[in-house]
């Protein structure tokens, strides 16, 4: 956080050789070395060394004869005047105001330094020089503030502790937001991608194409079917004739259920392999939570397939079928809320850990006390401390099954205390988890809303750009007309044939006084570009009236295409880069020049 300026100075000592001392100036607060009063005080205090010095003191540095003692500087920021001492500014010589760089902004006429920046933000910049601490004003936009700091050469890292946390949080939030937007932009803007990338994008973002959407819904359907099948195959359906038993549906229609299971597992396997193929980093993907869940969901089936029909192992096999319930976790790809819940739990791990730990402690304490209070009762349920754990947990969570109840007075008292404290212990970490969840959920909502609104916003921006682009083109045409008029007037040629094409324009050269020099030169530049490439700038709506370019290819020789002109607003993204001799739709038209005559 500190800026260090390192210089070397040799202190000559006559009897023990040169001792080299590295001087590092660590700036964190106002450079007191640059303040005259502290300078005087510390140099004066050095008189105390003279009696004990073993060698003579070096002579002091020569004084600058026209060294001015402090003067006041006027800094005008967008008209608002700030006045300060020169020394105040020079406290920090590695910033704009503290160094010679400010001379670039010196205005001779008014004898002040003029900056065309925001005066409200400049207050904070100047406060930094005055107090040595940089603060972050909470109601200002972080980007604007950052820009001001960058302009004046102040590193934001030297911010005081009072404001640094807030600044970092806002900055991170802002970066995330921009990163999100940029991410989705990058995704949409990729023109060519390999099938593998397309597949990956289809899996990750169901909205990207209809195939992806279909895959999304199909997998969702099969997950639901599989889970429901798991549930229903345990329901007893119908009485078997001849016996009083009523077997589960799974046993009765075992073939049907087996086929259903096979179909689901096939789909899941295909999906898993496809994801594995499409993943950009396969190893990392293998370790991801979702793919582990996928594997766990389909593995029991394969293990069951390859396991021999052995009585010993069939017990284990049945256990494995339990893992089929993990298929329900595959739904988390389909549900944002589920993912957020999982993320919240992960981020609240410490609170959950605290909850678990305090519960365990309380359980052990109460169970021990209950056990020793109740163990001598006849027919008691408290046969051991672990048995008492069950009672304590059921009581603390206020369930109260009633399968174990205390019968002594002490047992009942302790039981009462246990249930009261259970409520407290559980209620403590819950608000933290809830607020975390709420924050993350709302963040997500906002991101989704932003993405939805973005399309509308971009459309509006594009329309505005088109409007300005059209205005630009018409003004360019006017400028060209005027230019040609000038040329014909100078050359003395007839002007009738020339007036025919082009937009109407005001007569006389007084009109072009209104267009400033910049515009005229800009138009001239664009005209040069047109000539270079034998193209012509046209308005966007005229493009639709042009014939398809392939038919026009013959009359003109193929000329190398220039890139899109950045100054023509609007259709930048739509311009597809064609090859040198290729035909491309866009703003270029191989215009015929016969309509115009040039000198």
């Amino acid at each position: 956080r500190a800026a260090t300026v390192i210089g070397k100075r040799r202190l000559a000592r006559s009897d023990c050789g040169p001792s080299v001392v590295l001087l590092g100036l660590v700036t964190r607060s106002p450079q007191r070395c640059r303040r005259p009063d502290t300078h005087i005080a510390s140099r004066a205090a050095a008189i105390g060394w003279v009696p004990v010095a073993q060698g003579p003191m070096p002579p002091p540095p020569l004084r600058d004869e026209d060294h001015k003692s402090d003067e006041k500087l006027i800094i005008s920021v967008s008209g608002r005047k700030f006045v300060t001492w020169r020394n105040t500014l020079e406290k920090f010589p590695d910033t704009l105001l503290g160094s010679d760089e400010k001379e670039y902004f010196y205005d001779e006429d008014s004898k002040q330094y003029f900056f065309d920046r925001d005066p409200d933000l400049f207050r904070h910049i100047l406060a930094y020089y005055r107090t040595g601490r940089l603060h972050y004003p909470k109601n200002e936009c972080i980007m604007a503030y950052d820009e001001e700091l960058a302009f004046f050469g102040i590193m934001p890292d030297i911010m005081g502790d009072c404001c640094y946390e807030d600044y970092r949080d806002r900055k991170r939030e802002n970066n995330e937001r921009l990163f999100d937007d940029k991410d989705s932009d990058a995704e949409n803007a990729m023109p060519h991608s390999t099938p593998r990338e397309k597949l990956w994008r289809a899996f990750e973002n169901p909205q990207s194409s209809t195939v992806a959407l279909v895959v999304y819904y199909v997998t969702g359907f099969f997950i639901a079917v599989s889970v429901l099948a798991n549930v229903f195959e345990t329901i007893p359906c119908g009485v078997e004739p001849g016996t009083n038993l009523s077997p589960a549906c799974g046993d009765r229609f075992s073939v049907a259920f087996f086929c259903l299971d096979t179909a689901c597992v096939l789909i899941f396997t295909v999906e898993y392999l496809a994801r594995l193929y499409a993943a950009p980093q396969r190893l990392k993907h293998l370790r991801a939570v979702m793919s582990v869940i996928d594997i766990v969901a389909i593995l029991p089936y394969y293990i069951g397939l390859f396991m021999p029909d052995n009585k010993d192992l069939s017990g284990a096999f049945v256990t494995l079928r339990v893992f089929r319930v993990f298929r329900i976790f595959k739904f988390s790809r389909h549900s944002m809320g589920l993912r957020i819940l999982g993320y919240t739990l992960k981020s609240c791990a410490s609170e959950l850990g605290f909850l678990l730990f305090s519960m365990t402690m309380a359980v052990i304490i109460f169970a021990t006390v209950m056990y020793y209070a109740e163990k001598n009762q006849p027919k008691t349920g408290f046969v051991s401390i672990p048995a008492a754990f069950w009672y304590t947990i059921v009581t603390m969570t206020t369930l109260g099954y009633g399968d174990i109840v205390p019968s002594t007075i002490i047992g009942k008292i302790v039981g009462g205390v246990c249930s009261l404290s259970g409520v407290l212990v559980i209620a403590l970490p819950v608000p933290v988890i809830v607020s975390n969840f709420s924050r993350i959920y709302h963040q997500n909502q906002r991101a989704d809303k932003r993405k939805a609104q973005k399309k509308a916003r971009l459309a509006r921006i594009r329309m505005a750009k088109n409007a300005s682009g059209a205005a630009f083109i018409s003004s360019k045409k006017r400028a060209e007309e005027r230019q040609r008029l000038q040329e014909t007037e100078i050359g003395g040629a007839e002007c009738g044939s020339i007036r025919g094409s082009g937009a109407g324009d005001d007569s006389g050269s007084s009109a072009d006084r209104r267009e400033d020099v910049f515009e005229l030169q800009h138009h001239h530049l664009l005209t040069c570009l047109e000539r270079t490439t034998e193209r012509e700038f046209v308005e966007l709506d005229q493009l639709t009236q042009l014939p398809v370019c392939s038919s026009q290819q013959q009359p003109q020789p193929a000329s190398p295409a220039a890139g899109s002109d950045a100054s023509i607003a609007g259709a930048d993204a739509e311009l597809s880069p064609g090859g040198p001799a290729g035909c491309f739709k866009g703003r270029w038209r191989r215009g015929s020049r016969e309509a115009r005559t040039y000198l």
Binding site: S19, C33, P36, D37, S42, G48, V50, P51, M57, P60
Partner: protein, 209 residues
């Protein structure tokens, strides 16, 4: 020494707390004109000094910690707190433990603009921490150690723990002519004037404002 003016602002409890045991919370110095008269600084110099002083110590009182901080910024590699304490004490804060602007300025006026005798007198007070009028060997060692502490580690030749002691003893023995274990002011002055151009050396610490 100027008397302490009533604390500005809170006239109520401020006046009640005017005894010397309670720590004053605010101090306004005497007028610029009278201070300019009393010390050898000009008005502009006083203004410059006070502006910086007030920036650092808005209450008008300098505490020991402020001195330490100032010195540590000028001598960032070593530990300047011991020497800063000695200098602070040499300005004589009295029982309050903090200095006012007038005290500092008057001290600086002596050091910066005084004659060589006055400067030596201040140096003697710096060394003589218990104010008994003599410099003992212990006080000399204390001062020299404080100076060596300011160097820090990155020096060559390296500082050994006994260097300060040896240096102090050497100087002390040279100063103490009559060998009675205490250096009086006359012995101090004599020793300082011997073998060196004292006036030039004392002057080389003058700072142009």
């Amino acid at each position: 020494r100027s008397s302490e003016s009533r604390p500005a602002g809170a006239a109520g409890w401020g006046a009640a707390v005017a005894d010397s045991h309670a720590a004053p919370w605010h101090h306004r110095p005497v007028s610029l004109a009278s201070l300019a008269q009393r010390t050898r600084f000009s008005r502009q110099e006083l203004q410059l000094m006070y502006r910086g002083f007030k920036n650092d110590c808005p209450s008008g009182l300098v505490h020991r910690a402020a001195f330490r901080e100032i010195f540590s910024q000028f001598f960032p590699l070593g530990d300047a707190s011991a020497y800063a304490d000695l200098v602070f004490d040499s300005f004589d804060p009295g029982g309050r433990g903090c200095l006012t602007f007038e005290i500092v300025i008057q001290g600086l006026s002596v050091i910066c603009k005084g004659s060589s005798e006055e400067k030596l007198d201040w140096a003697f007070r710096l060394y003589d921490t218990d104010r008994d009028g003599f410099i003992s060997k212990r006080e000399m060692v204390q001062l020299v150690s404080a100076i060596y502490d300011m160097l820090g580690d990155s020096v060559w030749p390296r500082v050994h723990p006994c260097d300060a002691q040896l240096h102090a003893e050497k100087i002390f023995d040279a100063m103490d002519r009559d060998g009675d274990g205490a250096v009086t002011f006359q012995e101090f002055v004599l020793a300082c004037r011997r073998d060196r151009d004292l006036d030039r050396e004392l002057d080389c610490f003058d700072t142009l404002l």
